[in-house]
């Protein structure tokens, strides 16, 4: 996920221009899609008579809930999320919940390779280059739909949480339990920080990747100040920054 922040206009006003929206929308219908799985079978999701129909090769099912994870094979955060989804798939597979991964970048070989490396047993599909995948070019995203195909939960990014397990997986499980029980789901999203046009830029106080010495970028007395790892101070007119997952 790329995050671009530009600070200008009297040193204090920042704007943000995300490369693309990378998310599903709660309350909207999941778009139909059809992609090849790592084992060569074609997996498709479509709506038929107000029900979600999942075709896996010759097998047709109507899941009670569908979890769709749009990922990038070489992204460590996506891989951590895939491990959590594998556990989820095992625990909820017998309850009518299907988990699917759709790669928005990388070829079929990369998708197969990461699946083998992580021991993923739910279907991993290669959506690279498709219109569906292009919507998610900027990052990973996850949706939970009900059995009619309506997105009931969505999130962008992933947090494994702490050792107490207060991460995203806890929310997925609680929501799926509610959905399967026919109860209103507790959450339809996990809120993340996100810069919007007009927001002030966040302060960055972290070490330099290259030297390990502290650097900072912050507003000081109404001016943007960058302190480099040698202690020098710059007052840039414009900054352009990104989170980089390499």
């Amino acid at each position: 996920m790329w995050l671009t922040a530009i600070v200008t206009l009297g040193w204090a006003l920042s704007t943000l221009a995300p490369a693309a929206r990378a998310e599903f929308t709660s309350g909207q219908m999941l778009a139909d899609f059809s992609f090849k799985a790592a084992d060569g079978t074609t997996v498709s999701v479509q709506r038929q008579q107000d029900r979600l129909l999942l075709n896996q090769g010759q097998t047709k099912t109507q899941p009670k809930a569908l979890v769709v994870h749009v990922f990038q094979p070489d992204c460590p955060q996506c891989q951590a999320e895939m491990k959590a989804l594998e556990a989820l798939a095992k625990d909820y597979g017998g309850k009518g919940v299907t988990v699917l991964g759709v790669a928005h970048r990388g070829d079929a070989e990369a998708v197969k390779s990461v699946g083998q490396q992580l021991g993923i047993t739910y279907p991993l599909l290669t959506g690279t280059g498709s219109e569906f995948a292009k919507k998610f070019a900027a990052g990973d995203a996850l949706a939970i739909t009900d059995g009619t195909g309506v997105v009931r939960f969505q999130q962008v990014g992933y947090s494994a949480g702490d050792k107490a397990g207060a991460g995203d997986e806890k929310v997925w499980r609680r929501d799926l339990d509610d959905l399967l029980a026919g109860k209103p789901m507790a959450q339809d999203t996990i809120e993340r920080e996100r810069l919007k046009v007009g927001d002030r830029i966040f302060a960055v106080r972290l070490d330099s990747l290259m030297t390990g010495k502290p650097m900072s970028l912050a507003l000081e007395d109404g001016r943007l100040a960058f302190r480099d790892d040698a202690g020098r101070v710059l007052h840039p007119k414009v900054v352009v920054g990104m989170f980089s997952r390499y």
Partner: protein, 58 residues
């Protein structure tokens, strides 16, 4: 990162400062990649940071 480096080379004298926050777990690998790409603008090490987590990175 290549695009940011070009911006840095072209506009740093005009007051533009590109920066990146590295969010990949293997620090030495990222450092080497940054060297290989001849990146000279500041790169913060953000993996595992509260800032990164709050934006949904890990």
């Amino acid at each position: 990162m290549v695009c940011l480096q070009k911006l840095h080379e072209k506009h740093s004298n005009d007051g533009l400062l590109p920066f990146a926050i590295a969010m990949y777990p293997k620090q030495e690998r990222v450092r080497q990649m940054t060297r290989d790409m001849a990146v000279t603008y500041p790169v913060f090490w953000g993996y595992g940071s509260v800032l990164g987590k709050s934006y949904g990175f890990g």
